[in-house]
């Protein structure tokens, strides 16, 4: 067994467009690096085993569980957390649509849901209701805000398509 992963060292990660230095063991889950070393508390711990989606971030553009992704696996990757999706004065269209639709109750699962939805809309800017649900099936919500969330994601997709139309 290689114990290098259990010896703390300084490494740099690329998070939300910024290169950041952290000192920890390379086996450390990305989640704790984001939340505690970098103070990005928006990514939440839900289960630690990649089964609920609360901890999702974009790694190289793909929605990925940060709770069971070790730091060594992302050293050369671009990481985007919920904080990196939009600016304070200009939230991401998915975030805007979720707020507009009051699409949450407790909100604990929502960072992961938002990340999964953003990834979906990058792949498919005109998803059906069923496609949104399929894309979010790995994100658990206990409060029962599912239908509001799906409507908001569909609204965000329409907004994104319209925005693209304007630009063209």
């Amino acid at each position: 067994m290689n114990n290098d992963g259990l010896i703390a060292s300084s490494v740099s990660v690329l998070v939300n467009g910024q290169r950041r230095e952290v000192r920890t063991e390379q086996d450390t889950a990305l989640l704790y690096v984001l939340r505690n070393h970098l103070g990005l508390k928006g990514t939440r711990f839900g289960c630690g085993t990649g089964l609920c989606g609360a901890c999702m971030v974009l790694i190289g553009g793909r929605a990925t569980h940060s709770c069971d992704t070790p730091l060594w696996a992302v050293l050369d990757k671009e990481i985007t957390t919920v904080e990196g999706l939009g600016a304070a004065d200009r939230p991401h269209p998915v975030t805007e649509a979720l707020i507009e639709g009051q699409a949450a109750q407790c909100g604990y699962c929502m960072s992961g849901v938002t990340i999964a939805a953003v990834e979906l809309l990058r792949r498919n800017d005109d998803p059906s209701d069923a496609e949104v649900r399929a894309a979010l099936d790995g994100n658990l919500c206990r409060c029962g805000a599912h239908n509001r969330i799906v409507r908001a994601v569909l609204a965000a997709a329409a907004e994104l398509r319209a925005g693209r139309g304007d630009a063209a």
């Binding site: 939440r44 630690g48 909100g107 409060c143 239908n147």
Partner: protein
């Protein structure tokens, strides 16, 4: 328009905490701070209470700032539970804000030399008819509210409402939807270190050996705490705490013993375990003789249910040291004062040296692990004085060690006449109680205390009185006009798995049982289930929700199809709170799917319609998940449903379409909505399933296993 001066009765929360200044403050900066004692659980209550304050003070909601509750500075409003926040805290805020407005207007009248009755208020500006003005902000003076509420200012009549009754967007959602730190788990005070607890491998296990050498040798580990069978570790970094906890778990030896019942026949255990039997309610006498055409009965069962919140329980604690003696705890508890008292009791501290500050948590559906983890954090913090310690439970601990909703059996029997009319109804319940909250038990009601040296097991819960909604007996009393009924509860004296309040308590089983049985009676009499219910339902508000849900769902124009069915369920929550009827449409083709829920609710005055609809829909979806999937699994030693795979909940692709209609309040007072849909939803699904398959499934959840078991031989 000025509120008339005549004394109104003080709401209970105000009677217990009469000083106006404890409830609100006017700040010169143009802000009104309110201090409700109820806490945000993800249900949107802070927004609703802000609306109530804005309404009475005639200010915009944007000017209202809610102060997070903390012991010592917030009024003690007991637990945030039982769908009572709008009734209790809403009533209190309404009254104290009306009185604050009156007191400020009296000063303004003197300042401007104009009678109070001539003054008007617009967003805090106090205007005289001649155009001169002042404002709350100019007059801001804490001394004005440094007095007891007298109830001399009548709150507004509901007909005058402009802010209450509108769908003001949730004040906390922008933070929660942009990833800003807002949850207890996100606190990061200076010097924060991280704790983890290693729970016993099974219930009742004894720690017989422990080698701490390896755990203590990990760089960054601050200390290991052992107190009897309570075992924990504190480290500088969270990842180190996790590794050290894994190390400790591997280096601990436990003596295990079987303490749990046979999960293969849970109903048999529930019906045979030692119990205290009491009659909860009774009306009339059982008829005799030829009036009775037939007597029928059926028995229903629910398993233990987990809260299964998306975020495991978390708390942060800071102990100032032996000399100073103060302990600070940040918690997502439902009851800051009760938790403070219980922590003080467990730790042998005076209550006044303990402060519990509420910090928002993940969705709370009842008594979960929030209070337990506060003691975990306190015990670990006391080992590292001066350092705040944050504890987050693992998913496995959350699913296996938090209190569960109680498993139970309900037997319903009826004597009916030749037309199928109920002459006498009998409802009998077997199961554990539904509250082991701090403050309700003789022994300390916090998990870690039971594991510490000399700690006592948390004792089985008592049954709260039916006048307060009951526990196991909640909604066991019929809402229908039956001439006679009798309700009996067998409260188990032993508690193999800790049970406590989970959304709707006993109502989930009782409404499932009673409303399934109503369908069985209707079908046996060859009558339509909606018509059958209406025939014995005289309360016009009850009739209205049943009729409305039936109409909107297209009940009368339903065309039967193979393997698709519809069904209805109705209850008035606690027999005294919101009315709710649900029509479910279920398909049973390759699997059981709830396609659609059509829900009608009468909750009287609704403060925030969108928020209320969100709560009702969320409750119905959660109840659908309970009905279709959920069941705590265990062997003779331990709870085995410790992951999302072993304890699955409803996913996006499985969630039904939900249509919620809030009926007009018609001047009726506000009733809570957070729990009203749980019972009617499961009953509607059960009845729709029977309609689809012709199989009456009386055991939850409606898994293939339970459906097959319910099929006729």
């Amino acid at each position: 328009m000025n509120p008339a001066k005549r004394a109104v009765a003080l709401p209970p929360s105000v009677a217990a905490n009469p000083r106006l200044g404890d409830w609100l403050r006017v700040l010169p900066s143009g802000v009104v701070e309110i201090r409700p004692g109820k806490v945000e659980l993800g249900q949107g209550v802070l927004t609703a209470l802000s609306q109530v304050a804005a309404e009475e003070l005639d200010i915009s909601v944007a000017r209202v700032r809610t102060v997070p509750p903390a012991t010592g500075v917030s009024p003690d409003e007991g637990y945030t539970a039982g769908s009572l926040s709008i009734q209790h805290s809403g009533g209190a805020i309404r009254l104290v804000c009306a009185e604050a407005r009156g007191r400020y207007l009296a000063v303004a009248a003197a300042t401007l030399g104009v009678p109070e009755s001539k003054l008007t208020v617009a967003d805090g500006q106090i205007l005289a008819p001649d155009g001169r003005s002042t404002s709350y902000w100019e007059l801001a003076d804490d001394a004005l509210l440094d007095r007891a509420a007298g109830g001399e200012w009548q709150p507004k009549a509901s007909a005058a409402y402009r802010v209450v009754g509108t769908s003001v967007p949730r004040l906390d959602l922008p933070d929660k939807l942009t990833g800003r730190p807002r949850f207890a788990h996100d606190l990061s005070p200076e010097g924060l270190c991280y704790g983890r607890v290693v729970r016993p491998p099974s219930r009742g296990a004894t720690l017989t050996g422990l080698d701490t050498t390896m755990a203590l040798a990990l760089p960054g580990v601050l200390t290991v705490v052992r107190d009897g069978g309570f075992l924990g570790v504190v480290a500088e970094r969270e990842e180190v705490a996790l590794r050290a906890a894994d190390r400790l778990r591997a280096d601990a030896t436990w003596e295990r013993r079987p303490t749990l019942p046979d999960s293969g026949d849970l109903p048999a255990f529930l019906r045979s375990a030692p119990a205290e039997t009491i009659v909860l309610a009774e009306r009339g006498t059982r008829p005799t003789g030829e009036q009775i055409a037939t007597s029928v009965e059926a028995t229903y069962h629910r398993p233990y249910l987990a809260h299964a919140s998306m975020g495991p329980s978390s708390a942060t604690a800071l102990f100032r040291g032996r000399e100073d003696g103060r302990l600070m705890v940040w918690s997502h508890t439902q009851g800051i004062y009760m938790l403070r008292a219980e922590l003080a009791r467990a730790l042998g501290l005076a209550e006044d040296v303990v402060t519990v500050a509420h910090t928002e948590g993940p969705g709370c559906y009842g008594h979960n692990g929030a209070d337990d983890v506060a003691l975990d954090a306190a015990l670990l913090a006391m080992a590292v004085p001066g350092r705040p310690v944050q504890v987050v439970w693992s998913r496995a601990d959350e699913l296996t060690w938090a209190p569960f909703g109680a498993a139970a059996v309900a037997r319903v029997a009826a004597d009916v006449d030749a037309a199928g009319k109920v002459l006498c109804w009998h409802h009998e319940i077997w199961g554990n109680g539904h509250s082991t909250r701090p403050g309700s038990t003789r022994s300390v009601a916090l998990l870690a205390n039971a594991h510490r040296a000399g700690g006592e097991e948390i004792e089985a819960a008592a049954e709260p009185p039916m006048a307060r909604g009951g526990g196991a007996g909640r909604n066991s009393v019929p809402d229908y006009d039956f001439p006679a009924y009798r309700v009996v509860n067998h409260r188990l004296l032993d508690m193999p798995l800790r049970t406590s309040a989970l959304r709707s308590l006993g109502a989930f089983l009782n409404v499932f049982a009673a409303e399934s049985f109503m369908d069985e009676l209707a079908l046996a009499a060859g009558r339509d289930p909606v018509e059958y219910r209406l025939a014995c339902l005289s309360d016009p508000r009850a009739r209205a929700v049943v009729e409305s849900a039936a109409r909107r769902s297209g009940w009368d124009s339903w065309s039967a199809a193979d393997s698709v069915g519809h069904g209805i369920g109705f209850a008035r929550y606690k027999n005294t709170s919101a009315y709710c009827a649900v029509v479910a449409e279920v398909e049973a083709i390759s699997e059981i799917r709830v396609r659609r829920l059509t829900i009608a609710v009468d909750a009287g005055l609704v403060i925030n319609p969108d928020g209320a609809a969100n709560q009702v829909e969320g409750g119905a979806i959660q109840a659908t998940s309970w009905a279709l999937k959920e069941q705590v699994r265990f062997d003779r030693y331990r709870v085995t449903s410790d992951t999302w795979q072993a304890y699955p909940i409803l996913r996006f692709s499985e969630v039904p379409a939900v249509d919620v209609e809030l009926l007009p309040g018609n001047g009726n007072p506000a009733l809570g909505v957070g729990e009203t849909a749980q019972g009617p939803t499961v009953a509607a699904i059960a009845n729709a399933l029977n309609d689809a398959l012709g199989v009456r499934v009386r055991a939850l959840p409606f898994t293939e296993e339970n459906i097959v078991a319910a099929m006729p031989e």
